[in-house]
Structures are given as C-alpha cells and as structure tokens.
Symmetry: C2
Subunit: 239 residues, 2 copies
C-alpha cells in the first residue's frame, strides 16, 4: 500500500519578509517521515485571505493530509480560521467548547477573557478541536486539514496530539554513505545503481566542510531488505 | 509604484524528508526585502518532473520574478534544468558557452570533464547564464525564472550576481516594538491602529523567552514618515 501523502502550509508575512525563520516545516518533515507519511509539498503564503483559501483548496484536493501553521491568535492579522472556513464554504462561529476552555484558562490566570481572546474560540462548523497543552487556544481539524499555531513549541505540541489519529504507512527509511569524491565523479555509477532499484529513491548531496569536498549518497525506501541490498552494492562501488 | 513581487521554489527531496533544513528561502527573503522586492509566496517540491513544471508555470504567471534553488548538479536526481525547459516548452542542449566554462574549470583542476559533468552544461534555449564563482557550473535565467544551485554558499553567490540586474522598488522598511504583554491584551488597540494606517502592514508575534511572555509588534511599509508616525502612536499606546 502506498504511503499517505501530506502537504504543509506555513502562513505568515513574518516568514516571507525574512523577519522570522520558519522551523515548523523541518520539524513536520522529520516527524511525518518517521510515521510513514510522505511530505511531498510545502508552501509559505502571506497573511492574505485569498492566498490562504487558494492554497488550502489546491493542497487538500491533492493530498491525504494538509497541515497549516500560523495565524490563529487573537490579533487582526490572525485570519487563518476565517480563511479555512471560507475555503470549505462553511460557517464559522465562537464555539461553546472552545469558549469554555478559554474562559477557564483566563479565569485561572486572572486575566480578562476579552473580545480579542474570544476570537480564538472561532471554529468552523464541523471541525474537531486540536488540544493546545501550552497556551490552551485550540487548533482544529476540518476534513483533511489540520490547523495549528505558528509558535514552534505550540505547533509541535499540537502535532503530537493529533499524530496518533493519523493513519501512517510503512516507515520511510533511509541510509546514507559519505564519500570523499565530488558528485561528478560518482554520478554515472550512482545513476546506474538507482536505475537498478526503481523501487528506491536515491539522492546525492554535495558538501564542503572545512575545505573538504564530498558527497552524501542517500537511499530511501520502505523495504529494509532492499535498502540493505542497495547499500551493499553502494559500499562496493565506493569503498 | 507598487513593489515587484517574487516567489521562491525550493526543489529537493532532502528538504521534504527532513534530512536537510532549507536556509535559502530565509536568505532570499531578507535580501529581496532589502532590495524592495516583495516575496509573497514560497514552495518546496520534490525532485519530480511534473511537480516542478506545474509549480514553475503557476508561479511565473503570477509574479515578477521566480527564484529556484536545487537540482542543477551532475547526478540522476538533478532534473531542474530539464523541467524548466519543459515548463517553457523550449529545447535544452549542452551549450557551447557553458561547456567552455566547465571544460576550463576541470582542466585547471586536473579532473576529467566526463559525461556527468557535461550534463551541467545543459541550458534551455534562450536562457542567460548565471555566474557561479564558487564551483563554476552555471545557473540560468529564462524569462522571469532564475535557476540557481541548492548548496547555500553557491545559491547566495549566484543571487548576488543577478541582484544588480533586478529592478527593485522602494525599500521595504520595518520597525518593531517589544511589549511585555500577551497578544490578547494588546489586540484591540493594535488592530484599531492598523485600521488607521491601511497603507502599512502591522503584525504581532508572541514570544516566550525564559518564561517571559510578550509580543513583538512590527510595522512594515515603504514610507519612512508614515512608519515613524505609526510607531509614535504605538509607543504612546504601549509605553
């Protein structure tokens, strides 16, 4: 059975202006790979209603899962929940369960549960809440779209909460061999080996560390026996 | 005059598998912002012919510039140049000028200019070469698409080479104010201020550093006088 596929949608002007460096994509890529879900595409869009809708609708039609990060806070530039509702053409309201969670949180903190904070209870109809163990304000899953916070530790905690609910596939395994030769030197033999193992994916990644040039050769797949067989051949080619 | 817009396309399985963390997008975002070009979208796709073609054609139709990174080396998984040529429906051949550059480079290094290395001279018809001062193998510009290497120091060097040829706009300026209050506390007043300055973009970014919660408020725009006026108001709101 083929592995499920996923796309990531990072939402936020601060990434595109270079003010902030996204780290959620890399984290998600690693965790999904461990879980046997293939991340095949990622996008970053601005805090723009139309851009979010277009990206979500394109991605959710082509992937088993879409994960979003960013734009679910209380300020005027947090427009993700409204845009997701619009993408699904579904109403969005302050939902009682989300209101109750947030009310209790701000009561405990002795802070007013004001209008801005109440915005974080706006959830599209039909969505399931995603728990936020860090700061309470929930994410949500609507259809195959999982909407999470942009702050990395909250994104990561939310993701761990939904991971057990996602159907994974065979773990996506990889092995690599580091060779002290340039890519141009190993390309012919490496390419021929890749052609012999069409069920595996082989990639080469040049590096230059402290003036030493070389290449990391990576073999990916789901069948450990096939990967071992290819690695044995690779080690013989480039001892 | 509005600022030109740009999109970035990162090409490579190694980013999506989580093996490698992309840094070119963040670098490009910062440099374009300095130059007055607005990066409004970024994507990561796999080493997949169809995925590269679809992304390039979508992005080049909607942006003044598209910058790609990755997939222009000598190995079988380097398929970017062929995919770009296919996206433009233009032939691709080993071009004499690129062949001469590479031949001289490998002659100097005392290395064979073999078939794999000759693949790096494959350039779509009508493209302009982008100089690679690090390892010679050139990138290229075809139409509004700038095709560059994925290795960060080479990507950065190539980009600096083409930057003077790109028409920028008014510099995209930003100022920020750090407040020791949560987003929910400042949201109403900050949102009202943003509504008063529709020509500026205002964003709020929560942080939690060593247990201290707070928010960075960022104002972006191209008119320094307007940004100063908004910052004065912001400082008065949150002294």
């Amino acid at each position: 059975m083929p592995n499920p596929t996923a796309a990531m949608l990072v939402i936020g002007d601060e990434i595109l202006s270079g003010r902030t460096r996204d780290s959620n994509m890399h984290h998600l890529a690693r965790r999904l790979t461990d879980h046997g879900i293939r991340l095949t595409e990622a996008r970053v869009v601005a805090d723009d209603h139309g851009a979010i809708i277009a990206a979500v609708n394109d991605l959710r039609a082509r992937h088993d899962h879409v994960f979003t990060s960013g734009g679910i806070g209380p300020t005027h530039d947090d427009i993700t929940a409204e845009a997701i509702a619009a993408a699904f053409a579904t109403p969005i309201t302050q939902r009682a369960d989300a209101m109750a969670l947030l009310q209790a949180h701000y009561d405990r903190a002795g802070l007013p549960f004001n209008e801005a904070r109440q915005r974080m209870a706006r959830i599209p109809d039909g969505a399931t809440l995603i728990e936020n163990p860090i700061s309470t304000a929930p994410g949500f899953t609507l259809g195959n779209v999982h909407v999470m916070a942009g702050v990395p530790n909250i994104f990561e905690a939310m993701f761990e909460g939904i991971l057990p609910t996602l159907t994974g596939g065979a773990p996506l395994l990889s092995q690599s061999l580091r060779v002290n030769r340039g890519e141009g030197e190993i390309a012919a033999e490496f390419g021929a080996l890749a052609a012999e193992f069409p069920d595996l994916s082989m990639g080469s990644y040049p590096f230059n560390t402290n003036g030493v040039y070389g290449t990391n050769l990576v073999i990916r797949g789901t069948d450990p026996g096939r990967i071992d067989a290819a690695m044995t051949r690779l080690a013989a080619l480039f001892p």
